[in-house]
């Protein structure tokens, strides 16, 4: 790898804002909410267009973001760019590192979103596919471009994304790579391939991301599957089988969100599938102990997006915050700390003033060469999403598809009458890859489900 280890520990020392470990226990904060959640209705939400109906009350902007995602000064225990914004605008911002995992965050707030109750945030920062889901469901408010003049600074390739054409509902916060991170003291040779990640000496000390698209994306690319264009369930199942084998063989210690960082520091994990910026930050905090590389077989590229939830009554102030972070100078300050790919045009020039080495980093301002090594996981339909995440994290896919296998009967081919197929039960997706025709088959269960739906009518 030519791109490995761009940032020397010395460089890192220079970066102004240094950090200490902050709490990562947030992941288990949702205990005890199950009962409350159960009381929430689970009827289909009426699909409303992104509304701007909520009255603007002004006041504190409550912002939910991922951990270690904004420049932080350990000495003053404050976020310098945020402090500067509050001073210059007079708007108070309550910044909370409340997102540990897209699914988990969605699971916590979606009941309130559906009922239109305040979720406690005016800005949420979520990954592309999850942002797409919020926009689709009408859980976001349309951004007013006049309040965000700096919106024009967004990188061209991010300006028009599939899930939000024209960026009317979202604005990129940071973009990054998923790849391998490792402890340089324990593994001086580094990790560049999936084989090296699952080498026998790492047994029980490997952690992978719970972000399905990142972990599965890396494994599927290792198996030679193109995750950007189409892939089949069979190919996905192959990757699941691979991962499941590694779990049952005891290689994988944890399937986690952001919390893999603490295990790397404590030494409980030595190699991970992790995110680029995290690894560089960890390394700078720990005297260059960690490193990151994009897998030789290919990594993934993702973005996190700022959005204003439909329940927020503080839209204008929230937009002002977004506008502020799209000033190239501010964006460069944030990028110098978080080390993710900066989505703002002109930030590279500003970065030259802060640290020329960072301005040259392909992990912050990626070159075409670096970008050629990563792919974006293709968008999934809601049915695929549920099925794939059940298969990926629903525990024991083998028991699952054994069960499916038993019920499997090929009644009718999809190709016989393509117009009739509207819905394939999630069950029908869990078929074995060795059956070539399986993707085109009905299962008995699908029939049962379909009959139910016919009887009770289709929604939408």
């Amino acid at each position: 790898m030519t791109t490995k280890n761009v940032l020397s520990p010395e460089t890192r020392e220079l970066i102004k804002a240094q950090v200490s470990r902050r709490g990562f226990i947030a992941g288990v904060g949702g205990l005890g909410t199950v009962g409350l959640l159960a009381a929430c209705g689970t009827k289909a939400a009426p699909k409303t267009a992104a509304s701007t109906a909520a009255a603007d009350t002004g006041g504190t902007v409550r912002w939910a973001n991922w951990t270690l995602y904004l420049d932080y000064d350990t000495a003053t225990k404050k976020y310098p760019t945020l402090e500067a914004f509050q001073k210059q605008s007079g708007i108070t911002v309550s910044y909370k590192e409340d997102v540990n995992d897209n699914d988990e965050f969605y699971g916590k707030v979606q009941g309130q979103l559906k009922l239109g109750q305040d979720i406690g945030y005016d800005i949420v920062t979520l990954t592309d596919w999850m942002a797409g889901r919020w926009i689709r469901l009408g859980y976001t408010q349309k951004l007013d471009a006049t309040n965000i003049p700096n919106k024009v600074n967004i990188l061209d390739k991010l300006a028009n994304v599939g899930f939000d054409p024209g960026r009317n509902n979202s604005l990129t916060w940071q973009t990054g790579f998923a790849g391998f991170g490792w402890n340089k003291q324990k593994l001086p040779k580094g990790i560049h391939t999936v084989e090296q990640l699952f080498a026998s000496e790492n047994k029980g000390k490997v952690e992978v991301l719970s972000e399905m698209r990142d972990t599965m994306g890396i494994i599927m690319q290792y198996q030679g599957v193109d995750i950007e264009s189409g892939f089949t369930e069979a190919q996905f199942m192959n990757a699941i089988d691979f991962l499941q084998k590694k779990i049952s063989d005891g290689f994988i210690r944890k399937v986690a969100g952001n919390s893999y960082k603490e295990d790397l520091i404590s030494g409980d994990a030595v190699a991970v599938i992790g995110w680029s910026g995290d690894m560089f930050q960890l390394s700078s905090e720990n005297a260059g102990k960690f490193d990151f590389a994009i897998p030789d077989s290919g990594g993934t590229l993702w973005s996190d997006n700022m959005m204003i939830p439909s329940t927020s009554t503080n839209k204008i102030n929230a937009e002002k915050v977004m506008n502020y972070y799209y000033e190239p100078e501010v964006a460069a300050q944030v990028a110098a700390y978080v080390n993710y790919i900066c989505p703002v045009k002109g930030a590279q020039a500003e970065m030259e003033k802060i640290d020329p080495k960072l301005a040259a980093s392909p992990y912050i301002f990626p070159t075409d060469e670096t970008l050629s090594k990563v792919k974006v996981f293709r968008s999934l339909t809601p049915a695929e999403e549920t099925t794939f995440s059940i298969l990926a994290w629903g525990f024991d896919p083998h028991a699952y598809h054994k069960d499916v296998w038993r019920f499997h009967r090929c009644r009718r081919s999809v190709t016989d009458d393509p117009g009739r197929i509207i819905f394939r039960s999630s069950r029908s997706l869990g078929l074995r890859q060795d059956d070539n025709s399986s993707n085109d088959c009905w299962t008995r269960r699908t029939y049962r489900w379909l009959n139910l739906y016919r009887r009770h009518g289709y929604n939408n």
């Binding site: 009962g35 009381a39 699971g107 469901l137 029980g204 404590s266 629903g394 525990f395 024991d396 739906y453």
Partner: protein, 297 residues
Amino acid sequence: MAYLQSMATRASTFSGKKGRLPYLLLAPGLLWLFTFFVLPIINLAGTSTQTPVIGGDTGQYVQTFRFANYIDAFNASREQFARSFIYATLATLLALAISYPLAYAIAFRSGKYKNLLLVLVIAPFFTSFLLRTVAWKQILGESGFVVPTLRALHIIGPNTTLTASALAVVTGMTYNFLPFMTLPLYASLERIDPRTLEASNDLYSNAFTTFRKVTFPLSMPGVVAGTLLTFIPAAGDYVNAAILGNPNTTMLGNVIDSRFFRIVDYPTAAALSFMLMAAILILVTLYIRKSGTDELV
């Protein structure tokens, strides 16, 4: 005289309301139970038979009374079901084995230190359950002192870890639920009349026989209460498995958590919650029948 009269009237009005009073006293509790137990349970039951909206987005479900959800949910997580009950049983047995001598010592042999020892048993509860579990992860992890020490003494191999294992999960549960076992045991042991033990001695039984025939049977209510207070929360626990376990030690609580919050698959999660509840209820009823203490039912 006036005083007596007023007392008499008061007594009579009091007795007149006697029929209603118990209900009034019950009302807050019943209202609470109804709002926060009965209603959610009904809602949960409703959720458990829903199916996804066709063409709908993740998390959208309609009621179709599909009871096969239960079969699907069970089939998909049989392993975790088994694991939950095995781990909970192990943790309960371990807690009993540790707590009984402890409670016995506090009840009969602690003398003036009795109160101090009781406080020590409860003291960990002054800190959050979560923090204590995370603390164990640190203590038994690579950065703690236990693993390096054991490695230096060649008790464990260089690649063996103490956390992220089934052992850690069971130990964590035992630790976390220990006071729930100790306190009921202590309460029932403390109530034992020492004269029954003396009588046993007078009838020429040795210490062991006294324990077997007198002390233990008399402490049965404590044993039953303690095991239930440990087993029930342990079977539904997911914190220990999440913090101290690995992907191969997931328990049913973790599956339910993940279905609810991660996959947003409410019907399956609700069905699993119901089955867990039913399984615990059946086991507990059988256990109470078998152990012959009706006090608790």
